[in-house]
Every structure is written in structure tokens, then in C-alpha cells.
Symmetry: none
Subunit: 211 residues, 4 copies
Amino acid sequence: MADKQVPSTIKDEALVMKRRNQMVKGAVTLFIEKGFHKTTTREIAKASGFSIGTLYEYIRKKEDVLFLVCDSIYQRVKARMEDDIDPAQVSSLIQAVHSYFYLMDEMQDEVVVMYQEVKSLPKDAQDYVLQKEREMVAMLEEVIRKHISGPCSEEKVQLIANNIFVQGQMWGFRRWILQRTFTIEAYADLQVRLLLEGLPLKEKRPSGNKE
Amino acid sequence: MADKQVPSTIKDEALVMKRRNQMVKGAVTLFIEKGFHKTTTREIAKASGFSIGTLYEYIRKKEDVLFLVCDSIYQRVKARMEDDIDPAQVSSLIQAVHSYFYLMDEMQDEVVVMYQEVKSLPKDAQDYVLQKEREMVAMLEEVIRKHISGPCSEEKVQLIANNIFVQGQMWGFRRWILQRTFTIEAYADLQVRLLLEGLPLKEKRPSGNKE
Amino acid sequence: MADKQVPSTIKDEALVMKRRNQMVKGAVTLFIEKGFHKTTTREIAKASGFSIGTLYEYIRKKEDVLFLVCDSIYQRVKARMEDDIDPAQVSSLIQAVHSYFYLMDEMQDEVVVMYQEVKSLPKDAQDYVLQKEREMVAMLEEVIRKHISGPCSEEKVQLIANNIFVQGQMWGFRRWILQRTFTIEAYADLQVRLLLEGLPLKEKRPSGNKE
Amino acid sequence: MADKQVPSTIKDEALVMKRRNQMVKGAVTLFIEKGFHKTTTREIAKASGFSIGTLYEYIRKKEDVLFLVCDSIYQRVKARMEDDIDPAQVSSLIQAVHSYFYLMDEMQDEVVVMYQEVKSLPKDAQDYVLQKEREMVAMLEEVIRKHISGPCSEEKVQLIANNIFVQGQMWGFRRWILQRTFTIEAYADLQVRLLLEGLPLKEKRPSGNKE
DNA sequence: AATGAATGAGGTTTCATTCAT
DNA sequence: GATGAATGAAACCTCATTCAT
């Protein structure tokens, strides 16, 4: 919970949540536009609809805003993933991956921010946030495990999960190249097909399967 | 060529190259450690082995250092790729991808920097740098095209190339999760296998192959 | 109005005026002593009685201080002229010119500053300031026109006004030569007499008066 | 003599003169354009046609360039005055004043520089330069004295000389207002006429002429 | 005598943070 | 609880001057 990580001088917890929501909403836009470092606290305060003084009643340092923003994004993404690719609900891996890609499309901007600014967080906040990311990858792993046929090493599952996860983000952070060629539908379709089919090569594949 | 993009007051071109090499060498380390924004120009000068005044004889603005660093990394990566996965030389896609992954492993730090700081470049420098990236992806495309059997849509080739490209970088920027489980050899092996094999699913695959 | 030309981040307008007054007061002294270029912003802040950070809450660039100073001087001079040589009040040209010269004597330092530093203003501020100067010359023209007998070309009026105007300033910027010989009273007296009498020459004057 | 005031490390005096001429020629243009303070030594060197290192073989400090420039201008103006309004040659005050005004017209730019940058000179150089100015005023005084009829107080002569002197410069530094209305011919004509005729007033002049 | 690379003091400006109201 | 004026450390960058070649 963000409240535990970022103390505020304000007692009224409901108010703290409200103000922090305003803050995150304002800041995300700015971070998308110009990045964390080029955004000033004054701009954040203004975009949030209150004064610089008030801003500092709800955070201690500028970095706290970044943390709050990242945390909010992760929470939203994770919540959506829990809804959209719930292993208990989802009927196929294909459907799950499609849902995930569409989600990444919807939240492109947020994903890019989260992606590029995490390294600006203080070490401990980074750990907190990366933990969230592990959990998301774990969700993908679970879906994969559930829908795969035959035995499959844990490592393989993990790697596939990572691949899918990154391919989702990649739709956002490589839009300058991908979104010229593909629509999100085409992208999702093709990635899924590649995932399932494998590649036919001219040469013989190495046969020694030690798996 | 960097010389064209970043003017220097120094006339001796050889010296400019030499000093800029020192500069890039010093700056990369700092950027890896603390990122571009948290690195000061004085630190760059010191790490480069000359005074702040001298630094500014070879660049105009701090951003120029970032550009030089990015440019240098891209150039080195690209040069290495041209050696290692030359479509004329390389005997198989598998070998090419392996080489590319090993290269990404060697240049992890640089790749991470280049990856995370590009957005801090001025717009035109970004374009310049993204062009370089397109060229690298194109190299991968060519190798794929050469070694694939049967007909394969351009889009598919492009997407596979992007996947491989990003999976290489991912080895660096997701090391906190990947390098706990895999060695680079295992990683390369497994990624290649996934690439070739496809995934066996319990359910029927959608049959409508319009390809 | 200076408020329009030089934006401030401070909202309280009264405070802006107050602080800018402090600023102008402090800066004038420094500019008189050492000139605009040799005065540092830190010195200005200190002389104004606040910190460098505060200084920059009330201006954007150092040049703004110069503009504020020039504007203030012009405003004060103009206001005094409007009081002292009001064409409706003043009973004779002689009296008006005397008043003007005494004013220039009182405000010597300011006039010298304004005079020597205008060229350091950005182009648009220069125009603004020269406009003020035109207005002052126009005041003199009006007084002249009102008190002159017989027909007199506009050009002649304009030139006389300019002469008087500059002779007033000259009392300040040529003090090193003039104030060794004259008191302001003697100076004013003699200039007025010269203005009225003309010069008796040995030779015949050129007779072709096309006026 | 400038050689005495500004030492050089170079022995060959002819060379010193040559180089300093180049320097002054280059610097004047720059000072006219942007003023002394905004002109860098590098720009001066380049405009002079040699390197920054060479520049410093012929001066000690940047201010020396300003001094050399001012000195050169004063010398040229003075030399021209000695030619053009030589009291032994000139046949009338009118002609002398005309010549002086035309000279000021020719040397407008130089006069403006000299006028606005003198205060940036070190104190002792200022004295040196003001002395030159006194000498020029003295030349005007002499011409006046020679051509005036009847007795005339020294002070009056001095003041008239100063007026003429400043009116000449004024043609340059108030060009933004004067040169919209007058050609130099018209300006010279009218100033001379004003000088000779005096002003007809409606009111009685004060009669107590203690002169 | 000429060069131009190197230097670093010092200038302007920004901006996160505080605290009195 | 909210405000916003005040602060000053510290950032970027310039440029007069030196000195080895």
C-alpha cells in the first residue's frame, strides 16, 4: 500500500487518498510529455489543482510523486490483468494473451512512463515496484501452465511468460516502429501465431533435445 | 557521423575524436551508475580526465554528451552485429541469434543506458538514433529472410526480427529477473528453441490460416 | 507599465511592486557605480535585501532588472517633467527650461545610467524606452510652440526641443568638463541666454532665408 | 601614444602597429554591432584575422582593445578636425561648424561607440581619452573666438563649443529620432541658423544683461 | 612570432523544499 | 489544512587568459 511507503502530514486518510489521486492524475500526463526529471514540482502542483505548499503536505520528496505514479499504474495494470486473464475464467491461452495485449494497448502511455522512469526511483521503491512486476509475470506463468499440453520445464514457462510480458510493453515503447505496420489486432494475432507455431527452417534443427 | 551533429570549437579533428572518446568512456560509466540527469557536467569532465572548460570545447550542451554516448554505443553495437551476423557469413539463423544474444550480454550496460536515456535526447537526435535501430532490425530481418523455408510474409519477418531484437535487450534490462534463472547460454538456447518450435497447446489451434 | 513587460511568478501584485521598488533602488546605485555588465545578479539581490532565489521570483532574466530600472527612471523623469513644465502652468519658456535643467541636475546619476545602458536592453525594450523619450521631447516641443512668437517651422521646433533635451542630459554626462566651470544656475542661465540671443558674428550671415 | 599605454611582447614596432590596426578595424565593427561587453576576445581575434594567442601578444587584457579602439577613433576624429576646421584655414564659423557636422555624419558609428563605451575603460584610460575630448572642444573654442564679434566671456565660448560638439555627436546617437526628419545638410543648416539667430519670444526677455 | 588547446573562476539561472501566515 | 513567498545549493555554461608547441 502506498500509504505505508509515503507518509503525509495530513491525518484524514480519505483526504490523503483524494489528493494523491489528483496528484497522480496530473503527474502522469506531465511525465508522459516530458519525463520525470524535466517536470518540476510546481508543474505537478498546478496540474494537480493545488498549491506547491499543499503538494508537500502529501509527500516528502519529489521522488515520492514518481513512486505514487508508478505504484498507481502498476496497481491499475495488475487489477486489470486479474480481471482480464484470471486463469480460472479465461478459456484459452490465446484469449489470455489477446486480452493482455489489448490491455497494453489501452495503457500504452502509462506503460511507457513506468518503463522508463523506474530507474529514477530510490532503490527500495524500485524493489517494491519490481516485485509487482514479478507478480504480473507470475500471472502469465500460471495461465501458460494451465493451458499447455505435455510436460514443460519451469524455466521454459518463465521465459515464455517474460517474452509475452515484454512483447506487450514493446507494443508501447516501440510504437515508432511497430505501429506503422500493425494495428493492435494484427499485432496480437501474429504474435500469438508465432508463439504457437514456431519457425520453419531450411536447415535441420539440432536434434539433441535434452529437455 | 557524430562530427556533423555536434560541432566543436577545436580544429584538430584527430584530437576531437580522441577527446570525445575519453569523454564517452567516462560518461558511459557515470550514466550507467546514476543516469544522465543525476550526472553533472563536472563529473563528466573529471571522469573524462579534463577540466569543465575543456569539456565545453568539445560539445555545446550537456545533451551533446548524451548524444555522443548513444551514438557511440549504437555504432559499436552495429559494427559488432555487422561482424557477427553478417548474412553472407553466418551459416544458420540459430548461429546468428546466438551471436546476437552473446553480444547483448557483453554490452549489457551500454544497452541499458542507450535504452533508458534515448528519451532525454532532443527530438532530432532521437530520430537519428532510432534510424540506427531500424538498421539493426533490418539486419536481423535479412538473416531471417535468408534462412527461412517456405513463403513468409514481410510482416512476419519484421515482427520476428523485432522480437529477437528486444529479447536481446531484455536480457540486459530485465536482468534482475532473468539472470537469476538463466546463464546467457541457457537463455540463448531456450529462446532459440522457442523461436523454432512453437508451443504445444491442449486446445485446438484456430485453423483459419490465411497466410 | 512594467507589469506587463516583465512577468513575475508572484501573484500578489502589491508585493511585486514593493519588491521591484526595492530591486530598482538597489540596482540603480550599483549600475551608477559599476555599470550594468559589471554588476552581478547576486549583488543586485543583496543590494535589494533579498536572496538570489527571491530576485528571480520577480524577474526572468538579468536584463529585466535593467529594463525595470530604465523604466522607473523614465517614469520618474517624465512625471517630474509633467509637474514642472506643464505647458498649461508654466508662464514662460525660460522658466520651463530652467526647471528642466534643474531637474536634470537633481537626477544626474539616473540620467547617466539610463543614457549609457539603454543599448544593453533587448531590442523591444529599447523601443519601449525610446518611445518614452519621444514623449518627453514632445513636451518640450509643446512648451516651445506655445511661447514662441511669429511662425516657426515644425522642424525648427523639433530641433530646438532636441537641443534643449540633450543639453539637459549633457549637464550630467559631461559633468567632468562642465561642472568644473559652471554651477547648475550659471549653466541654466547661460544656455537660456544662448538659446534666445543667437551669436553675433563678424562676417555677414548668409542671407538666403528660405524659411 | 598608444604604444606607451598598452605594452606588447612583440619587439618589432612596425609589426605592432600593423597588427593593432587590423585589430582595431575588426573590433570597431563588432563593438558597433554588439557593444564591448557582448563581444568576445575570440570574436575580436577572428575579425582581426589572427588567432586568440596572437591577439594576446599585442595586448594584455580585453580592455586594452577597447582603449586602442577609442584611441584610434579619437585620433582619427581629431586629425580630421585639425584638417577640416583649422582656425588658420577656415574662413567662417559657419563653414567650420558645417565641416564638423559632416565629419560627425561620416563617422557616426565610431562616434557612437566611443560615446557609449568610454565608461567601460579603466579610470586612467578614461582620463587619457577625456583629455583628447578637451582638446577637440578647445579647437572649436578657438574657431569661435576667432570669428565672433564683440567681447565674449570665456565661459560663453566654452559653452557654445560644448554645445556644438555635443550637437555633432547627437546626430549620431539620436539618429533614431533626428534622421527621420533631417538630412545631414538640413540638420547642419538649421543648427547653424539656430546658433546665430536666437529665438524670438512672445514675452519680454529678462533685461539685466550683466555680461 | 604565431598558434590554439586548456583552464577554471565566476556568471546566470533553476527548482526542490521550507515555513510563516 | 492550504497557501505561496522565500530560500540557497547547485546546476549549466561562458570566456578571458595562459602556455606549450
